[in-house]
């Protein structure tokens, strides 16, 4: 994509896009031991690729309209999760820009904010609060969150004493309760028993029906077809196809699928 293309696109893109990624690229170091010096660290946004670095994503451009459900497809290590993190704005692009209008409910590392030594109750208030919910909002939703996680008997148990399944359940219950217009899902649904998984799926469908925008990374073709209308196919850090989900899956299967 040339500079003028990008300019054209930017001009044409309607102002309503909730996510707008323009020529975004992010670069990581290949190995930890690569020499790092103060000069590198402080150089603001050098475009030059230094030795020992690679572009995890580059020249990625797309817009997402409100209410769209987007599945990201690609093999391991092709930049899917990195793209999700860029959209969640937990990492920043080295070139190009990522614009996100409205809040994001990131189902990424959902258990990350939970503190082992605090009780489940305290953790719910903490995590929901850090994601921007007000105390009054949390209080009014608290019962629903607990009910969803099926964890009523353990409200005052320290988080560390929960089973790993319960940990994920309460975390999902909290983050999926955030009243944010954009939901990001990164394969968190691979855990939990089947009944809970189905519950999560139903919850996601509810959210979609409520007009949320969904951005999901998954290897499960079934899930992708169930939720998504549009697919993004990433390969070697490039966005190679942006099309309806069926078409994207077809291309992916043709290139990498088990014959």
């Amino acid at each position: 994509m040339t500079q003028s293309d990008i300019a054209d696109r930017a001009a044409a893109a309607p102002q309503t896009a909730v996510i707008s990624v323009t020529d975004a690229g992010i670069r990581y170091r290949r190995n930890r031991r690569a020499r790092r010096n103060f000069k590198d660290l402080f150089s603001a946004r050098a475009r030059k690729t230094r030795p020992g670095e690679f572009w995890a994503l580059r020249h990625v451009t797309f817009d997402v309209q409100p209410g769209e459900a987007i599945g990201v497809v690609g093999r391991n290590g092709q930049g899917k999760s990195t793209l999700l993190k860029l959209v969640a704005e937990v990492v920043l692009p080295d070139e190009g820009r990522v614009g996100v209008r409205g809040g994001v409910a990131p189902l990424i590392e959902i258990t990350g904010g939970f503190v082992n030594d605090l009780s489940v109750r305290e953790n719910v208030f903490l995590t929901a609060g850090l994601h921007g919910m007000k105390r009054s909002e949390i209080e009014s939703q608290f019962d629903e969150i607990i009910e969803f996680a099926e964890i009523g008997d353990f409200l005052d148990t320290p988080y560390k004493h929960l089973s790993s399944g319960m940990k994920v359940r309460i975390a999902f219950a909290v983050v999926s309760r955030l009243e944010e217009p954009i939901i990001l899902v990164d394969e968190v649904l691979a855990v939990g028993d089947r009944a809970f998984k189905e519950k999560c799926y139903n919850r996601i469908e509810e959210l979609l029906a409520g007009g949320r925008t969904l951005f999901i990374v998954s290897h499960s073709e079934k899930d992708l077809r169930r939720f998504c209308t549009r697919g993004l196919y990433l390969d070697k850090g490039q966005l190679v196809l942006d099309a309806p989900i069926a078409e994207v899956l077809e291309r992916y299967n043709a290139e990498y699928g088990v014959k």
Binding site: A44, V115, H131
Partner: protein
């Protein structure tokens, strides 16, 4: 069940910042107090034991020639803020490493990770002030109106500590050695700052250099509440200016390095 997008009261970025900051600072305190039996007492026990040791060494073993009477008040009036300073700075060396998972999954402004540490230690400092009051009464120290300058000292110290934290926190992610270097630096700074002595006890030629230690000015304000001769406005001015400069450097360093920090953790 319908899940229509509800109308939410818009909150300004500043209100959100403050909200997250408060949550994290209270979380730190809650964790500290829920996991230990003595809880609050640990935060005052440390400076108290230190003060006890120095009081014993300098009044019972040696003949004290520095500081002022009552020496225990003289000591504590600088040791308590020092405990805040050293605790916060050494916590910030681990700010990103300890919170890596949370930093990777939430997008709150990243300076909060440093500021919340300074704040939770600051709250502990304020909570430890009754101990100072206790010894002031026991020791019969005279209190003078300079006591009203406490908030000024707290403000300068907060600016200084946040500034240092903003420099240290991101750099430690890349240079782990810095963590130990900071510890060593803090130990040096303890003796290089007017804690067990006052600036006036230093030889004349050192006065000039001592005033460039921003802690000198800050501690002189705290002390002036009980020992009015300790207040030196030129020193306070220098330390306020230096604290602001350090904060600016910190914000610059933080802004320039945060992109790499987020990738690294």
């Amino acid at each position: 069940m319908t899940v229509a997008l509800p109308e939410r009261g818009a909150r300004s970025p500043l209100a959100r910042y403050w909200h997250s900051l408060r949550l994290l600072a209270t979380r730190d305190l809650r964790v500290r107090y829920s996991t230990s039996f003595l809880g609050y007492f640990w935060s005052i026990l440390d400076p108290l034991v230190m003060a006890g040791i120095y009081w014993f060494v300098f009044t019972q073993v040696f003949d004290r020639s520095v500081g002022a009477q009552p020496y225990i008040v003289f000591l504590l009036s600088a040791l308590l803020p020092w405990t805040w300073f050293t605790g916060a700075v050494s916590d910030t060396t681990r700010a990103f490493i300890k919170e890596a998972k949370l930093v990777r999954s939430t997008k709150i402004p990243r300076t909060i990770w440093v500021v919340s540490l300074v704040m939770s230690k600051g709250i502990e400092f304020v909570a430890s002030l009754p101990v100072l009051a206790f010894f002031v009464i026991i020791g019969g120290a005279a209190v003078n109106p300079d006591l009203l300058l406490f908030p000024l000292a707290i403000a300068i110290q907060a600016i200084l500590t946040v500034g240092i934290g903003l420099i240290v926190a991101p750099l430690v992610v890349f240079f782990r050695d810095l963590e130990r270097a900071v510890k060593l630096g803090l130990r040096f700074l303890f003796y290089a700052s007017p804690i067990i002595y006052g600036v006036t006890d230093l030889p004349q030629w050192l006065h000039f250099w001592a005033s460039f230690n921003p802690l000198s000015g800050i501690f002189s304000i705290y002390r002036s509440a009980f020992f009015s001769d300790q207040l030196d406005w030129s020193m306070v001015l220098i330390s306020a200016a230096m604290s602001i400069v350090i904060l600016c450097i910190g914000m610059l360093v933080f802004k320039r390095t945060i992109r790499s920090v987020l990738k690294e953790i």
